[in-house]
Amino acid sequence: MKALLKQKEFSVLAIVIIICVILSFVSPVFLTVGNWMDILEGNTVIGILAIGMTLIIITSDIDVSVAALTTAVAVSIGFMFQYLPDSWFSVVLIFLIAPLIGMLLGAFNGILVSKIQIPAIVVTLGTLNIFSGLVLYFTNGNYINSTQFPQSFMAFSNIEILGIPILIYLFALVAVSTWFILKYTLIGRSVLAIGGNAQSSTRVGINFKKVKMFVFTYMGFLGGVAAIAQTSYTTAVDPNGLMGLELTVIAAVVLGGANIHGGRGSIPGTLLGVLLLAIMQNGMILARIDTFWQNVVTGAIIVIAVSYDEINHRRNQAKLANIDVKEAS
């Protein structure tokens, strides 16, 4: 139990559980399987992007171009749909090409950040505008509806295995593999090391540029996957549909206990952050909370969650500092 309490994700988990308990008393629908499927499926896109963002935030950078990047890939998918034949081959091809386009766009961010060493916020603000400008130029903002989609893709988006929609499997796959990369691979450990202390980690031989390049390219890759998820979720391509989503993504990561100054953050924490935002959105209508109070409640819970986490963290740091002093004396 003590080990669990010490886990840095514990504070978010506690708040998630408290909200779940309250909501299940208020609304009989909340704890149904159907509702949880809706919550998870509806937050697959935010979740996948937040997982990628976690790695970037751990290295003490930020990527504000994610929503624009995802939209750019989604629009490319919509464009390809007009040429692809109606067969399963098309779906496979989309799964190969979309992440690849995402990776290229992400690598573009990565090169500017790592090779030319421009601060990531500046780079990604720039690419945010480049991507969304190009998208607007090519699409003129036009919405592509499902009548132009191949039937095979529509069939894909309706797949359910054991009653669970396919998108949730996709989300789980991304979460588990990223968690594995972060925990058990050299590059994953390097990400954490650089976030902890960039100077020391380069001294022990970690290639700083390579790691930065990796996190941004990986973000692009996940942006491509998220674009498929978004297209299959809305069965439409809307060039304005994700505008502003980057803020929600960053909020979810920070809620999940990642430190914006780097070095701290984890996949389970981020998933809890996404879940917290998701159940709050879901619970507002289920709990029949008045519309105008919904924003107030959402904001209040975010502030409480972040302060609680920060106080906990500070307390732990204080303990560490204490030990240092004792050892020195």
Binding site: V29, G34, T147, D238, I285, L286, T291
Partner: protein, 359 residues
């Protein structure tokens, strides 16, 4: 210490000077670009000799809330058509995001181009006020379209529909689609602060209160951030939370699509009716299987056309009259104040007619 201050002041001065210079050069560069774009526009669109001597042609600027969304693209098509038909130069330009400050800059540029009339669909009526005043001081005719600006300031105000009539009409359509005059309904909106959406919803609510007292609105209007997927999620939540829900009124163009998608996915086409304001091409897949019953809107192409036509009248010193026939648009209504023009009654898009439109 004094040296330090001195050097600081010098540096500050240099920065300011550099700022001014670069602003100036950026400004003039921007203008050149804009001119260049205009020229290419003219040649590519018209290419005939008439257009070459466009100097004494009237220049009408139409500023949408933003460019690059289907709705304002459709009104652009209409505005340009009017320019061709009526022999005026139409400049259709606006910010790429629905941003009040960016829109003000666009209008500033148009003032320096010395156009004859500016028609603006303000993102925020208060923030365009000073720049519209400036336009008037420069003898430019000022009008608003799509969304009203400050009434005192504009010479003409072009409205697509009468807000009251539009809201009431949507409510009527919803009751019609539900086939019953009692039951629970929910209202989705694009955003809580959008003035025109709010006035439609208010009108719809008073229609329901007055004529259908047995219809119960289950919650306050629910905001959907102008996004389809948000409207979809909220409708899913509504369907779970209120299992007896009979109808959804979705105001703002993406909201009906999301609401209809939820109804479609749950297979509730016969139990839950959805009526809202959407463009016909976007709503087609949902109109087909009845998950969206009726999309109510006006014709945005005609709105663009009418704006340019009235802009031309204004620049020539005429004012429109009540019941006047505008070619390509139809009979318009002018309200008692003499300057608020209402285009036409709301238009219904249904399964039967949606495929006839290309916006």
């Amino acid at each position: 210490m004094r040296k330090l201050w001195l050097s600081l002041v010098v540096v500050l001065g240099l920065i300011l000077a550099a700022g001014c210079v670069s602003e100036e050069s950026a400004g003039s560069g921007g203008d050149e670009e804009a001119d260049g774009a205009e020229e290419t526009d003219n040649t590519s669109e018209e290419g005939n000799t008439e257009e070459a001597e466009s100097d004494d042609e009237l220049e009408i600027a139409v500023v949408p809330k933003l460019v690059g969304i289907p709705y304002f693209n459709a009104s652009e098509t209409g505005a340009e058509q009017a320019g061709e038909d009526l022999g005026v130069n139409v400049e259709y330009t606006g910010p790429t995001e629905a941003d009040a400050a960016a829109q003000v800059k666009v209008i500033e540029d148009l003032i320096s181009q010395d156009v004859d009339a500016i028609a603006v669909a303000p993102n925020d009526p208060a923030s365009v006020e000073p720049v519209l005043k400036k336009a008037k001081e420069n003898d430019i005719h000022v009008m608003d379209w799509d969304t009203p600006a400050d009434k005192e300031l504009v010479d003409l105000s072009v409205k697509q529909v009468d807000d009251e009539e539009f809201g009431r009409h949507m409510a009527e359509k919803l009751v019609e689609a539900m086939g019953t005059e009692e039951g629970e309904i929910a209202i989705l909106t694009g955003g809580l602060s959008a003035a025109n959406l709010n006035s439609w919803i208010d009108a719809a609510q008073s229609e329901l209160d007055e004529n259908y007292p047995d219809i119960e609105i289950v919650s306050d209007k629910i905001p959907t951030d102008e996004k389809q997927q948000v409207a979809y999620q909220k409708t899913l939540d509504l369907l779970k939370s209120y299992p007896d829900l009979k109808g959804v009124l979705a105001v703002s163009t993406p909201a009906p699509l999301g609401a209809a998608q939820a109804v479609q996915e749950k297979g509730l086409q016969d139990e839950v009716s959805v009526v809202g304001s959407a463009l016909p091409t976007d709503s087609e897949p949902f109109l087909e299987d009845g998950s969206l019953d009726t999309a109510v809107l006006w014709n945005p192409e005609q709105l663009g056309y009418l704006t340019v036509a009235l802009g031309k009248m204004l620049a020539e010193g005429e004012m429109p009259e009540d019941g006047q026939e505008i070619e390509g648009v139809g009979e318009i209504t002018v309200e008692d104040d003499g300057k608020t023009v209402i285009m036409a009654p709301p238009q219904d898009y249904t399964k039967e007619n949606a495929s006839e439109f290309d916006f």
